[in-house]
Subunit: 187 residues, 2 copies
Amino acid sequence: MRSKIYLSLVHYPVYNRNRDIVSTSVTNFDIHDISRSCGTYQIKGYRLIVPVEAQKKLTERIVTYWQDGMGGQYNKDRERAFEITNVSESLEETIKEIEEKEGKRPIIITTSARKFTNTIAFKDLSEKIRIDENPYLLLFGTGWGLTDQVMDMSDYILEPIRANTKYNHLSVRSAVAIILDRLLGED
Amino acid sequence: MRSKIYLSLVHYPVYNRNRDIVSTSVTNFDIHDISRSCGTYQIKGYRLIVPVEAQKKLTERIVTYWQDGMGGQYNKDRERAFEITNVSESLEETIKEIEEKEGKRPIIITTSARKFTNTIAFKDLSEKIRIDENPYLLLFGTGWGLTDQVMDMSDYILEPIRANTKYNHLSVRSAVAIILDRLLGED
């Protein structure tokens, strides 16, 4: 059910270009565009996972500006998009928060360009989440992608967006929009 | 056919908050995210319509940096995304460019939250462009949207992305991604 779906943008742990595990910086457009997509598709929550204290504080300030501050007064649609947005310091904290709210540990979904034994098609996941009572958490990586450890703890890996082409260079903001549309498009 | 589809982001003429006709500023993320989406869905061209000379020069400099400069050497995927991107000073110039290249004036498509007599469903437009030999030009507005004059010159108006909900606050970058996926998703 739409009302039990959460989405996270993970800034740690992710790979950099050289496959070191790093924490990436928050991009303002990732806060805005993804909040707006999550709001439009009416999911329950959007969590930016930001472990670096200074980055976390800055992100919280931007979110609060639109939730309670001048931003929301200037643009009511944007205020509404930010209602579901928050910052979290780790993936574990986000899972715990959902578990406490929903009474169940969320089913974790990630995306990958590769095939895994637990790869799931869009159509199948779309049907599943529409009828399932369980909460779901969709994870998106930044940098050069989520670490193997995060992939290993995922219940399902969603098939690639452009399965039949070699070139896929979508921004994470565009990927989030397309995936929400494919899973929750029209009622 | 995918190979005859063009997409433009229009910075003029669009409305501002008070429904004055204005020229908006170019946003760097509109250049990158939309080039990447257009590249991934393999359409023929992406044109940023920017009539203000200083803005046009700046946008051209960014595009060239990724097409021919250091950017492309650093990131080959990004270089490839920018191959189809260019700046144009007006909608008329863009239409003329396509007409000269393709030997036919493009069929113009816009999007709107409202219903028009020439509103077309995603499914119908998707079928049409896959078989049609004509070039197509998909227009996206910035600011508070394309002017009535542009809407009037459009051959078809695409139905809203979220037809069954009241709240739709997608960024133009997300809207472009979802619309390309719905029209050209998988072969």
